[in-house]
């Protein structure tokens, strides 16, 4: 079912990607375009706009061990070329989720990735164990970076040891491919990426949203009921590209890039920085057809530019990318110091 070149049409570009090369259960996508968690519901909401089977994969809304009703309103605020959200992980909980969605996904010819959030390492492991053998689920994306949940005021994803601990616990609880979603709030995202790679992650995805705030000057109070929210959209893209560039140079597992992708040009930046696949989030809200258009545009661009396989594009803008063992975190981190003065 993978596309391959034929003599007559020398150029059907190969968009396929393996996001879990170290895992026997593998995670092979027919193309690298994936709707991001929280922006595509459970894959069913966009049914009349998007043929989900044309996507590389999709990531579900974040699931927690128990049902959550989410934050109070307002939950979203528009910002310059971006938006803040503080939904608060409204979801039916693990049991309700397993009953409702995987049976639908099982009939679809597209890998379904479940985004998993929890407030303790035990809960992360518990959820991974419960999801391990559920038909219809292809992989887990571990949300160590959701900035809206306060558990003792910390975030797993900001600390390399805690990030590794969560990853290790999940790794031991499931043989499913495990993607760890990294937080841009970490002081050194490269060291977090290396820590979760060492703890058994099959891939990393980055970046999650940046924590932000908007004040309603008439009410003299923050717009969001939660006070802070996650910033997404085109406004965050340069930050995301820089972090993907650094992380891709420092790890030997696939990197999934996301943060403000809306056009083919945006997607190409991420691939050239070192991403093997991309997730698209906020752009879906303003254009429900963006996902399949990106797939088509990418194939067309590769044909027109003589790129037979996506793999040849990954990391071409990244001179440290080819380093066989990755580079020490400190080296990759230099980049930020050099650029940021």
């Amino acid at each position: 079912m993978s596309e391959h070149a034929t003599p007559q049409d020398a150029f059907v570009p190969d968009l396929s990607v393996d996001l879990a090369p170290r895992n026997p259960r593998e995670l092979v996508l027919k193309n690298p375009v994936i709707p991001a968690s929280g922006c595509f519901g459970y894959g069913t909401e966009y049914g009349s706009f998007v043929d989900v089977e044309r996507l590389g994969a999709f990531v579900s809304k974040g699931i927690t061990p128990h049902p959550r009703s989410g934050n109070a309103m307002p939950r979203i605020a528009e910002t310059p070329a971006g938006m803040l959200n503080a939904i608060g992980l409204q979801n039916p909980g693990l049991r309700g989720f397993i009953r409702k969605y995987p049976p639908i996904w099982e009939r679809w010819d597209v890998p379904a990735i479940v985004n998993v959030s929890a407030e303790s390492i035990e809960d992360f492991a518990h959820m991974a164990r419960e999801l391990d053998e559920v038909p219809g689920i292809a992989a887990l994306e571990i949300n160590i970076s959701c900035p809206n949940i306060n558990a003792g005021g910390f975030c797993f994803g900001w600390d390399a040891d805690m990030s590794a601990e969560v990853t290790r616990a999940v790794r031991q609880a499931t043989t499913l491919p495990v993607i760890v979603k990294l937080s841009p709030g970490a002081l050194d995202i490269v060291s977090i990426a290396q820590a979760v790679e060492g703890a058994g992650a099959d891939a990393v995805s980055l970046i999650n949203t940046l924590v932000g705030m908007q004040i309603d000057v008439r009410r003299r109070w923050p717009v969001l009921a939660n006070l802070t929210g996650g910033l997404s959209g085109p406004a965050v893209k340069p930050v995301a590209v820089r972090m993907v560039y650094q992380v891709a140079a420092a790890v030997n597992i696939p990197v999934i890039g996301l943060g403000g992708i809306a056009t083919l040009g945006d997607a190409l930046e991420f691939f050239m920085a070192g991403a093997s696949a991309i997730e698209v989030g906020t752009a879906i809200f303003t254009d429900p057809t963006v996902l399949t258009r990106l797939v088509d545009d990418l194939a067309e661009w590769m044909s027109a530019n003589g790129v037979p396989s996506l793999r040849e594009l990954v990391g071409v803008a990244n001179d440290r990318f080819t380093h066989p063992q990755g580079v020490p975190a400190a080296d990759a981190f230099d980049l930020m110091v050099e650029l940021g003065e």
Partner: protein, 278 residues
């Protein structure tokens, strides 16, 4: 290893075939002071499906621009299936709506819709009371015109700060009793539109309302004080900031006795007694 296409029918919230289209503005008319009635072309099958209370979600920026980022949900004011046109009532309140009212005739609009649920008129109802505030007048006008066409009696109450902010009586097609209130007394009752409600509550079989949140609170207090039991029931159309408008992002929820539900798919019309009021 091919498989069947996804069984979208098992979708817990199916929203019909593609409702994304490009409309062309055919007419713009000033109304209610600073607001505009904007009419644009739409596929006839979608116009024919449009129901009172539904909305469209419009991208309010030019091609290649990212600001303002999100689409704007706007209630449908009138649907003309024969002409293949939808009309919306827009007040230039923020950056998106200001962009929209500045578009010239002939301009293209990126439109998603019609979306959401609708006002439900019970088959047993003969007398309908509408209570409108500001641009909340739009979905109620569509509902009122449909109702009188079916032979129902409609009284349409509207409130505004001044006379300039009211719908002109000429806007209504059909036999609708139109009663107004202004904060400054420049037209009709001097005071709030909700002051007018008690005298109609015995008569009305159903109440429909759309307007600013403070008006809802005031209306609810008046209704709870004057009605008998749960009659007449009240349906209200809420306004929320939305991102996806398709039930995916959960950014526009309303707290109801059934839990947190989206105003874009489960709403925007809710039964007043189902909403949890804080």
């Amino acid at each position: 290893m091919t498989t069947a296409t996804p069984h979208i029918d098992t979708n817990p919230s199916p929203r019909g075939a593609s409702r994304l289209f490009t409309g062309t503005i055919t007419a713009t008319m000033p109304i209610m002071g600073d607001s505009s009635l904007i009419t644009f072309t739409a596929p006839q099958n979608l116009v024919a499906q449009a129901r009172p209370g539904q909305f469209v979600s419009i991208l309010c920026r030019g091609e290649g621009a990212y600001d303002p980022l999100l689409r704007r949900p706007i209630s449908i004011y009138r649907a003309d299936a024969e002409a293949g046109e939808l009309t919306i009532l827009v007040r230039p309140f923020g950056r998106g709506s200001s962009w929209l009212v500045a578009q010239p005739d002939g301009a293209s609009l990126d439109v998603l819709g019609p979306l959401g649920n609708q006002f439900e008129v019970s088959p047993r109802s003969g007398n309908l009371l509408m209570v409108a505030g500001g641009v909340g007048a739009a979905p109620l006008l569509m509902l009122a015109e449909e109702a009188v066409q079916k032979g129902l009696s409609v009284t349409y109450l509207m409130g505004s700060a001044t006379e300039a902010g009211l719908l002109p009586a000429a806007a209504f097609r059909g036999e609708i009793e139109y009663v107004v209130a202004t904060d400054d007394g420049s037209r009709g009752h001097h005071g709030f539109v909700t002051d007018l409600i008690p005298e109609y509550l015995q008569w009305a079989d159903q109440v429909f309302t759309c307007g600013p949140t403070p008006m809802f609170h005031s209306l609810r207090n008046v209704v709870l004080k004057h009605r008998m039991g749960k009659k007449p029931p009240v349906q209200l159309s809420v306004e929320r900031t939305m991102a996806c408008a398709l039930g995916a992002c959960l950014g526009c929820v309303v707290e109801t006795k059934r839990g947190m539900v989206t105003s874009c798919v489960d709403g925007p019309v809710f039964d007043m007694d189902e909403v949890v009021w804080s």
